[in-house]
Amino acid sequence: MTGLLEAILVDVAILGRATVFNLYFAFASIPVGFGLAVLVMLGRNSNNRLVANLCGGYIYAFRGSPFFIQLFMLYSLALALNLSVWKPLGIDWLVLNPLFLGPLILALNTTAYTAEILHGALRAVPKGEVEAAKAFGMGRSERFRRIIWPHVIRLAWPAYTNEVVFLFHATALVYFTLPVIDGQRDLMSQANDLFQRDYNSVLHFSVAAAYFLAVSLAVFFVFGLVYRHLMRHMPGARPLKFSLTRA
């Protein structure tokens, strides 16, 4: 029995180090993805048909294709542009590094999903309040800042929480596709590697699953606190309830 406990502790230590990469990928891509998503959402609702169609097409393309292939495709595309673009600019060392490109592709992916969530929330903003603000003499940007955006973020928060968890899960695919520098390993590739050494699938994948679960629960908890804060003025607001599928 002590042998098992020891084996679990060894796995916890090894996979704990690997989790740092998944956390890094998620932390580096989430803020960027959120910022871009707001822009794409605004573009999608722009009066300019070209901009609206481009943003709509972007959302459809990234939501309609597997992240796994997006990683392969964008890495080989970035590589194809290396000699003609990145090298002359002197940024090739940065662009093709998995620690930069991984979060970038994750951000491009989550931008599309988040923009769709925000777009849905935008359409659900009560029209009456916007009209009232207009009648009040508020300008476009003031209306957005003070009336529309607070509604959007409140409406979108539960779905966005799910998106963040899904994004964290998607980080497991980065090292299955990009070249590995100096033997870096994330949670999933490390668990796979451990399995290939001793074929103990239950042990290694359970510990890896426990790490994913722990981080997911932490995300739900923190985002739940934020949601309570967002809804603090609404007496009797329902607690955060999650939908299971990605938006």
């Binding site: 309609g64 597997p66 292939i69 998607a170 999933m188 399995f195 994948f205 994913f212 299971l244 599928t245």
Partner: protein
């Protein structure tokens, strides 16, 4: 001009490419079979979730929620490996002499269960079924609860038995409420079929890599540089097309299922 055209035609129809085109069948089979399993597990999971027996209800709730915390790719890799080992362990009980070597797998050669592409494909489909079955169970469980109580009570008042209420009214009405969610599950599932190469299947993704990577060997065909992104782009367009067609199909099914139901059109 015709020369380059002829070159591309012959290049894109050589044996390597024909192999690649043929490998699309794995993706299609995994999607259809995985979808069927997902529906099966989904109905089972929803039945557990809505069960009145607390242990079954708990089981259903755990099943539905596990996919929330653990990535699909982990299930996808783990389930086939663990299932293979379980089968081999069971065979080993009778086939192997006691005290087989430690740290080796399978415990003895007689207990080996060979996994080829067909076996992996089946196991991959079951994995997809387990993961997306949990999503589906959530959708179906929600849809069952969305059917207006009044309709069920009306059916009972007509003298229908519990089973008749369930099969003739409850489940039939449920589909309309479930379709948007099911459509979502299906779209997630088809995207997950891109992971087949992680299970030793030479699928369209691995095929694209092998075809597109630079070739500097005379005997391996046309010598070319890195063409991978072109192949991957083709795969992206393939998936986007499948997504588009799936959405159209689900819209048509929804229209058909909700005919004569003015309530449901707002769902």
């Amino acid at each position: 001009m015709t020369e380059t055209f002829e070159f591309w035609v012959s290049y894109l129809t050589n044996g390597r490419h024909l192999n690649w085109y043929a490998s699309f069948q794995y993706t299609v089979i995994a999607a259809l079979l995985g979808g069927a399993f997902a529906l099966l597990f989904g109905i089972g999971g929803a039945a557990l979730r809505n069960s009145s027996l607390p242990p079954l209800k708990l089981l259903g709730t755990i099943y539905i929620n596990m996919v929330r915390g653990v990535p699909d790719v982990l299930f996808f890799i783990f389930f086939p490996l663990a299932f293979e080992q379980l089968v081999e362990l069971v065979i080993a009980q009778s086939a192997c002499p006691a005290g087989g070597g430690a740290g080796v797998w399978p415990p003895c050669p007689e207990a080996n269960w060979f996994l080829g592409t067909g076996e992996y494909l089946l196991l991959a489909s079951v994995s997809l079924g387990i993961v997306y079955g949990a999503f589906t169970a959530n959708v179906i469980s929600g849809a069952l609860n969305s059917v207006p109580r009044g309709q069920l009570e009306a059916a009972r008042a007509f003298g229908m038995t519990n089973w008749q209420v369930l099969s003739r009214v409850h489940i039939r009405q449920m589909w309309v409420y479930a379709l948007p969610g099911l459509s979502n599950c299906w779209l997630l599932l088809i995207k997950a079929t891109s992971l087949l190469s992680l299970l030793q299947i030479t699928d369209i993704v691995r095929g694209a890599n092998l075809l597109g990577a630079p070739n500097f060997s005379r005997t391996a065909g046309v010598i070319h540089g890195d063409w991978r992104w072109g192949y991957y782009l083709a795969l992206l367009l393939f998936y986007i097309l499948v997504t588009y067609l799936s959405e159209k199909a689900f819209a048509a099914i929804t229209r058909w299922a909700s005919r004569g139901m003015p309530m449901a059109e707002r769902v």
